[in-house]
Symmetry: C2
Subunit: 307 residues, 2 copies
């Protein structure tokens, strides 16, 4: 089934204890697409300036990302510069230059307007609502946001929640949105405001899916080497939505599989700088990692193992 | 199989955002025993002052905890006073009075010296080594420690590692011990120094078992109400060791079950102040919660679910 992503297309300059990158591929739509296109073709909507590296986008196109919806506008591309702490658990934004992203108003090409699976990357919730006005056939809409919008455009965000199927946020965002530090109460608060389900990402620990009174937890893949956490959340979303779109199956069991594909893609994202790891892997690596998740959590407790 | 625990027996005064307790049952040996005795009889070794509430210990005895090894000495019992932050993620120690615990030297009663499963709660590693000199028949020794000993008695602790089967610590302790912020590298560092396996507890997120090149992750049970995190780690140890001792099965599959019993007991510990929750539950509640862990992590990805 068709899969649409709307989000940022950026150039990231990242410093970690292990090295740094300058003007590397980044942005929510880019990380999402790099992951999702390993599972399903992607329709991407975003904006870049005239300085954006054409080669890099072309490589995405070769992997099944339809760039029809990427506007190229006069001006500079969105740039983000950040620095991570020694343990990669905290990051500081050193510089943000919105460039052409400041005036971004998503226009969904005619060919994308019948998208069935839609991911709204972290942009102004007014723009996210505007996307939903243009895609009327969606059977599943997932949405990310951030503290900036939770504080600055709370009412619009709450309106948006009434129109989406899944809110996918990290634990800090869930807490800030709900005003509750307990992530499971925060999840319930969110579910009472519209979405059928919520995914709360917990960084190096894992992610939790809450829906229909059930909780599913997928741990983060155990990695001894993590180079750059940037984009892990968007890659998670790409794996999740990519799996759902290719199977077109929203059953509880398949949502759980989607979580595992999400966690697998998140783990690939952090193994190299920027989107580099996605240049190296294909279906075989994805399948292998997804299987490893089974061994990571599998146990059996039946009648024979009880007192 | 016989199960021995050596550790602190304390009176805790705890403040949380939801209330407070004064001189409530606490200490590593107590939390361990409250959890473990739901699965298997426990032999407890520790020390209390003349002021320790006899009734409370008697309730433990009625549940299968052999108190032969609990010394009653002139002086005051070990008291700890702490205050948790609003989100229960951080705690401040307001007061520590060691009392008779300051001079504690574990003496294992003759009847306990053939214990097959041994848990060394967090005490001076010299004393932990001293316990191992007294229990020569142990087939499985697990050990906890803390930053105070990691910094202050590092050499003794490293010697101890050569004589135990399992080190069970939290992530901060694993990092401090190994000097590595990555918990999986930290686990490998620890395994290279003696233990056959390591469990790294990650608080509200869960716990990870690393052994024989395999990783098993059990999430923390999803709780909307957490009252008092004190003792969760020791209750986890009690569930883990209680299950191993009653089954006397150290196979990889059974170690995974032990992790789930540990996580279940940890979740009970935090649902009330002090050890109160353990007064309310029996085998049925334990079995029910352990089964719920299956639903929390279970997914299936077979050939039919791949591209």
């Amino acid at each position: 089934m068709s899969l649409l992503v709307v989000g940022s297309i950026a150039l990231d300059s990242v410093e970690t204890p292990f090295g740094s990158t300058a003007d590397a591929l980044g942005g929510s739509a880019v990380f999402f697409s790099c992951a999702a296109c390993l599972l399903q073709p992607v329709q991407m909507v975003g904006v870049v300036g005239q300085d954006y590296p054409f080669d890099a986008l072309q490589r995405l196109a070769e992997r099944g990302v339809d760039l029809t919806g990427v506007e190229r506008r006069p001006g500079e591309s969105f740039r983000w510069k950040g620095k991570y702490s020694y343990d990669l658990q905290n990051r500081e934004t050193l510089d943000t230059r919105l460039g052409v992203f400041a005036e971004f108003v998503p226009r969904i090409p005619e060919a994308f307007r019948e998208a069935r699976y839609v991911f709204l990357g972290n942009i102004d919730p007014e723009l996210q609502l505007g996307v939903l006005d243009q895609v009327r056939q969606a059977s599943f809409v997932a949405c990310d946001t951030m503290n900036y919008w939770i504080n600055g455009k709370r009412d619009v965000l709450l309106e948006l929640l009434r129109h989406i199927d899944l809110l996918m946020v990290n634990d800090a965002e869930a807490r800030e949105l709900s005003g509750d530090w307990n992530v499971y109460r925060a999840a319930r608060w969110i579910l009472e405001r519209g979405p059928r389900m919520v995914v709360i990402k917990q960084g190096v620990y894992g992610a939790v899916l809450v829906n229909d009174g059930r909780v599913f937890y997928v741990p983060a893949f155990p990695l001894e080497e993590v180079f750059d956490p940037t984009g892990a959340g968007d890659a998670f979303a790409g794996g999740f939505m990519g799996h759902l779109a290719r199977t077109d199956d929203q059953s509880p069991a398949n949502l759980r599989r989607a979580m595992v594909y999400g966690a697998a893609m998140g783990s690939f994202a952090v193994e190299r700088f920027s989107t580099q790891r996605f240049d190296e892997i294909g279906a075989a690596e994805v399948t292998a990692r997804v299987r490893e998740f089974g061994d990571l959590v599998q146990f059996d407790i039946g009648p024979g193992h009880e007192r």
